[in-house]
Point group: C2
Chain length 479, copies 2
């Protein structure tokens, strides 16, 4: 069946052998793998349209894929479907320093945009950890954030226009180069829709002028609670840091062991607070934040004295995930968000759960916007530990929903958190999502079984959201 | 038929007589009037649900209405339908200074939120000209902006969560108190949907700390072109003013005659540039903007010396619409947006069109975000002038679309610009909008015939958008 693809695509653009398809069997959620029916790497828009038509005509599932760095399995192949790599659409089509925009193809890497814009003193703000590798198409699909999203927003806040190819092969221009556009706002609807609504074939991003000055403070605390409280105080005081990151003792030690940047290894928690903007305002904010950190009980406060030291402060944070990976055979990276005011209590509860489940947890996260990344350490060789890790993870997400937060901050739902969507949303809300999906893709060709669970699945999962009542939360289903 | 409403609503909440319904026959687009079948003013959510059920069961059009200050006829009644006023839902349910949010009912006035938050040093940023009267429900429906939206965004950027009552009487929670939420982003989809998708019964808005300092500069230019160029230069230099407004000579003279604030009446154009933030940064920016204004050829630059003078500078701008209303029996207020870089050329073209059509035009607009409000002066007593004004208006909107802008910046489409939507969007895009509408309201009960034209209407209008070809633009249809 899939051999028909050779009719429209050159031989090197159609992969059918096990060996050739192996690299496409998973994305960043590497515990889930699936061999697709075929992998295609089209070179032209005409070829993409042919693939769409083929899938539409024969009802073949189509899974779009960017760089495959996603952490929730959004690009996991469908076993009877086609995996569509957009890697070859990697051109920056236009970069206009006057209007501060860049028009790019979906396969352009996130960092490549900032590199191209640097000559004009501009950059593209969202900076996911994977920014060296991840592509703007994937960023749009997942509405990616990064350490600076507290001040500069998520992908949705940094794009202006999309060119969408619908499952019917129609071109839609979504959003506009202007500030607002008439009609329904489909730009935000598409952003974060995880490839379920259409193929984004062009993205116009906003570029920002590089800030005049950037300063970073490192503060050490003798309790996670005090550090959490400091975050609340900084935000409540009206400071909007460019980044406000927190690491607990386990994460600090792991990072320090790994990159040796001089982190205070005995601290219960550290905060990294970056402020940027006009030089005078930055100086004013550094003074203000320093005072607030001291009041919140910081034992030590360091200001990076030069750019080299600033990068060193960040190096520890940026390497925290691989560093924690050296502590334990496996770790499970959670991604929940909570309203900032509950930060201290949620951290306290995670620490209690850690004892309850007998599993260490390292906390590394975007504290400023309440996006937690607790890393649960375990050894998958012990079946019992994996089970406990999953339960523990489930409890953390339950906790996030309980305090009014969400089950995913920036990693998306994909296949990983599809069951937790049953906890986050009630059946009317899920039905509305399915109706919206049907408005774009009535036959469910695009990325089936991802992001939005069927009501049937939720019933089976046994965790249908209960209004104003008790939340029930079953064990994380295995994939 | 409508007498059945008395079954569920108290007598004073159902208006059926011509006299009682008169005030509801139009909104701010007062040239369009329509007597509805009935007006209802429910007091409780249970009553609202009864009205919904009645409309759903009998396929009766339902038009929601806030304060009726909208300028595009979005709340124009349907002659066979029910006009649903949400005026009685006017309570601030919660105001939390720690998380800087307020949870309010749809009938709460925009300014009332800032007034309630003032005691905590907080305010709600979007400030449409009608903010004394307009309500947050209407603001969400129209995605309202205001003079400060350049820096602080539109309504969509300043809300977190909506409680939506669907046409089926289901409750949906849309968005969340957290930074991002999983599932499709329906928050932006609902915002600006002009009452076509559901009833917004609760809004959680973000509150911002009042800036430490606010300064405003007034600059006079001897040509509109030079003023437009100054706007481009200020933005290109990386300054993001809190407001950046422009008035041309006709508007300056009208405003000065009306409020006597000392505007330079011989200037071809003035710019008002407000900067806010930390005191030191504001001082730095004032210096920078002053220099840029001088370089762009400003003949006179004044800095408001105190709060009283600052308010005076703004008083002229804020009264510009009624002031222009004194110049001429009628005016037609346009609302298009353009990419900022085309500002100077579009202004030039409007001035040429003014000569061509023999009608004066006063330009008052949010220059910083490219949102134009040209006011075309005419006398409706001369049928010929009305016709020319409409043609002239159509040309301006056509010009906006030509340079990559849109037919509406912040006033919505409603009934006023429904034909221009045929120019803005192609048939695939309009079909997609209809599919989205059907996903929420399959029988088209909510606010029918507004915002999104049928393809049939576009064909009749004879101005179906042509891809990469010539735009055709027919005369503005009369209502």
């Amino acid at each position: 069946m899939f051999k028909q693809l050779y009719r429209w695509l050159p031989p090197e653009s159609v992969l059918l052998s096990d060996e050739a398809m192996r690299p496409y069997e998973c994305d960043g959620l590497s515990v889930c793998t699936q061999r697709p029916g075929a992998v295609v790497l089209p070179n032209t828009l005409a070829e993409v349209k042919q693939v769409l038509e083929f899938c539409r005509t024969h009802h073949i599932p189509l899974v779009p894929r960017g760089a495959g760095t996603g952490l929730s399995g959004g690009a996991l192949p469908h076993k009877e479907g086609i995996l569509l790599s957009l890697a070859k659409f990697n051109r920056i089509l236009q970069l206009d320093p006057r209007s501060r925009t860049a028009r790019v193809e979906p396969g352009v890497r996130n960092l490549a945009i900032s590199q191209a814009a640097a000559v004009y003193g501009l950059y593209y703000a969202p900076d996911p950890s994977s920014q060296v590798a991840c592509t703007i198409g994937g960023n749009v699909a997942e509405n990616s954030g990064g350490v600076h999203c507290l001040k500069y927003g998520l992908t949705v806040h940094n794009i202006l226009e999309l060119k969408l190819l619908t499952i019917d092969g129609e071109w839609l221009t979504i959003g506009s180069q202007a500030f607002d556009s008439p009609g329904y706002d489909l730009l935000a609807l598409l952003t974060g829709s995880e490839g379920l609504l259409g193929l984004v074939m062009e993205v116009t991003v906003k570029l920002l002028p590089k800030p005049e000055q950037v300063q970073v403070l490192l503060a050490a605390f003798d309790s996670v609670l005090a550090a959490g409280q400091a975050v609340t105080e900084i935000i409540a005081a009206g400071v909007i840091p460019a980044g406000l990151e927190m690491m607990d003792n386990a994460a600090i030690r792991a990072a320090e062991d790994f990159v040796k940047v001089g982190y205070p290894v005995t601290a219960a928690a550290i905060l990294l607070c970056e402020v940027d903007g006009h030089a005078a305002a930055v100086a004013q904010q550094v003074t203000k934040v320093t005072k607030l950190l001291a009041q919140a009980g910081a034992q030590e406060i360091r200001l990076a004295e030069n750019e080299q030291q600033r990068l060193k402060f960040w190096a520890g944070r940026k390497s925290a995930f691989p560093a924690v990976g050296r502590l334990s055979p496996d770790y499970y990276c959670m991604d929940g968000t909570i309203p900032r005011k509950h930060l201290a209590t949620v951290l306290q509860r995670i620490s209690e759960l850690s004892k309850e489940y007998g599993l260490a947890v390292a906390n590394v996260f975007h504290a400023g916007d309440g996006n937690l990344h607790p890393l649960i350490l375990f050894d998958a060789n012990h079946a019992d530990e994996l089970k406990r890790a999953e339960e523990f993870g489930g409890k953390i997400l339950e906790l996030c929903v309980e305090v009014g937060g969400t089950i995913t901050g920036e990693h998306g739902v994909g296949i990983e958190k599809i069951n937790q969507m049953c906890v986050q949303f009630n059946s009317a809300e899920l039905s509305q999502f399915h109706a919206v999906k049907a408005a774009f893709d009535p036959n469910g060709i695009l990325n089936p079984l991802k992001a939005i669970p069927t009501l049937h699945r939720c019933t089976e999962f046994g965790a249908m959201h209960v209004h104003q009542g008790q939340l029930r939360f079953a064990e994380l289903e295995r994939f």
